[in-house]
């Protein structure tokens, strides 16, 4: 069995896909983010098993130097994953803002209610009670 770059890259892609699956099982990676990664490692595996695919596709779209197609695909994939991450961060930011606001509003409401429940014992006067309720 001769050790060549195709075999090495296949092993790396396989290890990569395995790592992702393990991470999902351990709940360290959410499926929604993992799908893109899995897709990428599958493509990597297919390309390292059948390197001639790259030549065929390159010929189709008139790329004279097939390895540059590989670089092109890599850059596009990385760009998409980065965009996906930025979108995820934006949506997280939005959620954190809403959560922080809600937390602040609730805390304020709790303080108000606590003040209300303490007040009657200290100040049972009718006038002050209506003041508090108003």
């Amino acid at each position: 069995m001769n050790l060549n770059i195709y075999l090495i890259s296949f092993c790396i892609s396989l290890a990569f896909a395995g790592t992702i699956l393990v991470l999902i099982r351990k709940r360290k990676l959410r499926e929604q983010y993992a799908l893109l990664w899995l897709l990428m490692s599958t493509v990597m595996m297919v390309l390292s098993l059948f390197p001639s695919l790259l030549d065929i596709v390159a010929q189709w779209i008139h790329i004279y130097y097939p390895p540059s197609l590989l670089y092109f695909l890599c850059v596009v994939a990385v760009l998409f994953i980065l965009l996906h991450l930025t979108m995820a961060v934006s949506s997280l930011t939005h959620r954190v803002i809403i959560l922080t606001q809600t937390l602040g509003l609730q805390e304020q409401r709790i303080k108000e209610l606590e003040a209300l429940s303490v007040q009657p014992a200290q100040a049972p006067s009718h006038v002050q009670m209506t003041e508090v309720i108003r």
């Binding site: 930011t93 954190v96 803002i97 922080t100 606001q101 937390l103 602040g104 509003l105 805390e107 304020q108 108000e112």
Partner: protein
């Protein structure tokens, strides 16, 4: 004139939203001023994750304080106030900065303008009569560009799109409680009103130089500020105009 405003307001609930980020130096004075000049309004300080004593000082002054656990920026802080106003069924909510730039004595005139014009939001502009603190040259240029842009896009004259001194009626409160831009929100909020077919008007006010703290816009950030605001305003213009239905339950 202000007496009449007060009697008029007895049945109406007015909330003063004071966003404050590290304003310990000036906040007591602002609250004190509000107490004296607008006794008819409830004051709500939004402490936007300050690292100084802003919250303690405001609480000691006897007003409602909402503490945000982390710093959200002016937009997120002010929106908390609008959410509070919507939940507690306020008729009017006015935003007054915690650094003493806006004088509470103008609030009566803002309310009057709101009754007169029936607008959904009234903005206090420092550039109509050009009195008081007029900001620096560079900043005025930036504001000039933005006001020209806004006037063109909305078809209404806007002289001070960055003014934070603004009074909202119920419809605007319910809209802002639902959606409000996060950082540097003033200009975008105008576009939001325009997109949702709510109206706004401007009246002249006098602004002061800030009493403490640092402006949220430093010179380094101003390039980011201008590009971000112009980009999002232009993008918002491409959205379809859709009337805002008031989902204010009362």
């Amino acid at each position: 004139m202000s007496n009449q405003a007060e009697t008029h307001n007895q049945s109406l609930k007015v909330l003063v939203i004071v966003p404050a980020y590290n304003e310990a130096e000036g906040i007591a004075q602002v609250i004190d001023q509000l107490r004296r000049e607008t006794p008819y309004a409830d004051v709500l300080v939004i402490n936007d994750g300050s690292s100084d004593a802003t919250s303690t000082i405001a609480r000691a002054a006897g007003v409602n304080v909402i503490d945000l656990t982390c710093n959200l920026g002016i937009g997120g802080a002010v929106q908390t106030g609008y959410r509070y106003a919507a939940e507690h069924h306020y008729d009017y909510a006015v935003q007054i900065d915690g650094d003493g730039q806006h004088s509470p004595s103008d609030l009566g005139r803002l309310l009057f303008a709101m009754f007169d014009t029936n607008a959904d939001m009234v903005i206090g502009s420092r550039f109509i009569t050009k009195e008081g603190f007029q900001s620096t040259f560079a900043r005025k240029m930036g504001i000039g560009i933005l006001s020209t842009l806004l006037t063109r896009l909305t078809g209404r004259t806007v002289t001070d799109p960055t003014s934070g001194y603004r009074l909202c009626g119920r419809r605007a409160i319910s809209l802002f409680a639902r959606e409000y831009p996060t950082d540097y929100p003033e200009v975008e909020a105008l576009m939001l009103l325009y997109n949702r077919e709510l109206s706004f008007a401007e009246i002249p006010v006098v602004m002061h130089e800030r009493q403490g703290g640092v402006s949220s816009i430093s010179s380094l950030k101003s390039v980011y500020y201008m590009s971000k605001v112009i980009l999002s305003v232009l993008l918002m213009k491409t959205m379809k105009r859709k009337a805002w239905e008031n989902r204010y339950e009362s």
